[in-house]
């Protein structure tokens, strides 16, 4: 049942499980100049879920997340077509700043902290939006509580910290804007498994606090374990999606590698 769920129109009004979707992505295509990286991608994001996106290198996962936060709207070099709707609001027509203000933010691939700012300054920068400023100091304290790993190093320049600590700072920085939806692009990139476990524990904690999470995860098993819903991407399109409980591993890996079975079933 899950395999064709992404087909257009199937859940036009109602989303999965009869709930109203938080985000509806329709006919989304993305281009880097002449190169087309996404081909009419369609899916829904339910409020409060953890959605995992998996796929081989170059499948378009990062491009999809970047499109969702307006980072593919850069004129001639990168642009998108199609729509991304958040409860009646067209995110695809907003700038990144406005999308973040609307409650959708991203922890980018490779962390992308501000290297010459301290931990504390990186976090406070995450609360730059006018609606976040007043509570920014409280939020900072909350984050330092939540991430004791860097709490005592709050005045340190972030480029002097380990990769795991930097990833935690990147997650905390995103939370400073009080988001409804956080997109995580390859949290585990270059980190030791034990630290990755720690980080995913935080993601779970964030999700339990009511934040909808979308994660790109290279480790297929982990992706299936942490999520309520999985999208498998191949060559710029979604080739399989469903509840991880309903999908078997063969199905997922054949979709992932684009073997005949994977294609046929999609």
């Amino acid at each position: 049942m899950s395999i064709s769920e992404h087909k257009r129109g199937f859940f036009a009004e109602e989303g999965r499980g009869g709930k109203r979707p938080l985000l509806t992505v329709s006919e989304l295509s993305a281009y880097y100049g002449e190169l087309r990286a996404l081909f009419d991608v369609e899916f829904q994001v339910m409020p409060g879920e953890v959605l995992a996106i998996i796929g081989a290198n170059g499948a378009g996962k990062s491009t999809l997340l970047k499109s969702m936060v307006g980072m593919m709207n850069r004129g001639k070099t990168a642009h998108t077509t199609g729509s991304i709707d958040m409860r009646g609001r067209r995110l695809d027509q907003l700038t990144t700043e406005k999308i973040v203000d609307a409650g959708v933010t991203m922890v980018p691939e490779g962390r992308r902290l501000f290297p010459r700012l301290t931990v504390e300054e990186n976090l406070l920068t995450g609360a730059y939006l006018p609606r976040c400023r007043e509570a920014s100091e409280d939020k900072l304290v909350e984050m330092l509580d939540m991430f004791p790993r860097f709490a005592e190093r709050r005045t340190q320049i972030v480029s002097q910290m380990s990769g795991g600590e930097q990833q935690m700072v990147a997650v905390a920085r995103a939370l400073m804007s009080d988001p409804q939806v956080v997109l995580f692009d390859e949290l585990s990139l270059g980190l030791a498994p034990a630290i990755v476990d720690d980080i995913y524990e935080k993601v779970q904690q964030i999700n339990q606090a009511g934040v909808t999470c979308i994660v790109i995860e290279q480790d297929m098993k982990r992706a299936l374990r942490v999520s309520n819903h999985v999208l498998v991407m191949l060559e710029g399109a979604i080739v399989l999606e469903g509840d991880p409980k309903d999908l078997n591993e063969d199905q997922v890996s054949s979709a992932y590698f684009g073997s005949e079975i994977g294609r046929a079933s999609a």
Partner: protein, 310 residues
């Protein structure tokens, strides 16, 4: 040589050195003010602002205009010149320079090299434009902002004194640098400027509008340049085409001190000031500039990233 003559000579050489250090330091404070704006716009948006020196002169002429209408001391013109220059800078960045920046060229699908080159040409042209407008309005007469303190000095000893005005400007310069530091580290807008300078692509994810932040950066840069212009106008005469000589001082200071650090600009300015004064003392007035350039060349040869850059 008698003991007395020897003592006399020793005394004068000590006085010369003290005088060099003192005057050099005082001058350095104002060199720092001349250069900090240039360092900042380069650090934040990679803008090599060739009109920076002309902005300084604009500040001085703005004070001339104000003093024509208002019976105030030149000092008080600062309270008007600084906000006017800030607004000019903000608007200039948003309506002109943001459209020729690295980011703008990328949006047009052009290589980043265009974005580095275009603002250099644009600000070069802007500098020429500004000086001709000033020439058109004020003609080429040398001007000065008249003030009662021009000839007062602080006497530290019989043979050691410094100009009161220069001393005040040194203090004012330090205050402005401290305020700038506090702004950049303690306010949301200030942190946003530094964030955008570290990673412009990701800053929008913090809700930062980089076009606005760049406007603030050039606004601040021009506000400080304007303040420096008023001070310069009180110390010496100026003419419409004097901008480039201040641009050179600013480049020198930035090369010595390194980019992107306020302390670097201050120390760079002081080192340049001391070198110039001591070179002037020992090798005659014509050696002043040569001494300064020698220092710049040495720094470029041995520590091209500047003495204080991290």
């Amino acid at each position: 040589m008698t003991a007395e003559a020897f003592n006399e000579e020793l005394y004068w050489s000590v006085i010369d050195i003290l005088n060099g250090l003192l005057t050099g330091t005082i001058i350095g404070g104002y060199y720092a003010m001349i250069s900090i704006g240039l360092a900042m716009t380069f650090g934040v948006m990679r803008l090599v602002n060739l009109a920076h020196g002309d902005f300084i002169i604009v500040g001085a002429y703005l004070a001339v205009v104000l003093l024509n209408f208002l019976p105030i001391s030149p000092f008080f013109t600062l309270t008007i010149v600084i906000p006017i220059m800030f607004c000019l800078g903000y608007v200039l960045q948003r309506v002109l320079l943001n459209h020729v920046s690295v980011q703008a060229m990328e949006r047009k699908g052009l290589s980043a090299n265009y974005g580095l080159m275009a603002p250099i040409l644009v600000t070069f042209g802007l500098g020429i434009f500004i000086s001709h407008v000033l020439l058109g309005i004020f003609e080429s007469d040398a001007r000065q902002l008249k003030n009662s303190l021009a000839f007062s000095a602080i006497r530290l000893s019989e043979d050691l004194n410094i100009s009161l005005l220069r001393f005040i400007f040194f203090g004012l310069g330090i205050v402005i640098l401290i305020l700038l530091h506090l702004y950049l580290t303690r306010t949301h807008a200030g942190r946003a400027i530094r964030a955008a300078s570290d990673d412009a692509e990701v800053s929008p994810l913090m809700g930062i509008n980089t076009a606005h932040v760049y406007g603030l950066a050039l606004g601040i840069s021009m506000a400080i340049a304007g303040a420096a212009g008023v001070m310069i106008g009180m110390i010496r005469t100026f003419q419409p085409f004097d901008g480039p000589q201040f641009l050179l001082i600013a480049f020198g200071t930035v090369i010595i001190g390194g980019l992107g650090s306020i302390v670097g600009s201050l120390v760079g300015g002081i080192l340049l000031g001391i070198t110039q004064v001591l070179a002037g003392t020992y090798f005659g007035p014509s050696a002043q500039l040569v001494g300064g350039y020698m220092l710049i060349l040495f720094v470029l040869a041995f520590k091209p990233q500047g003495l204080f850059s991290k």
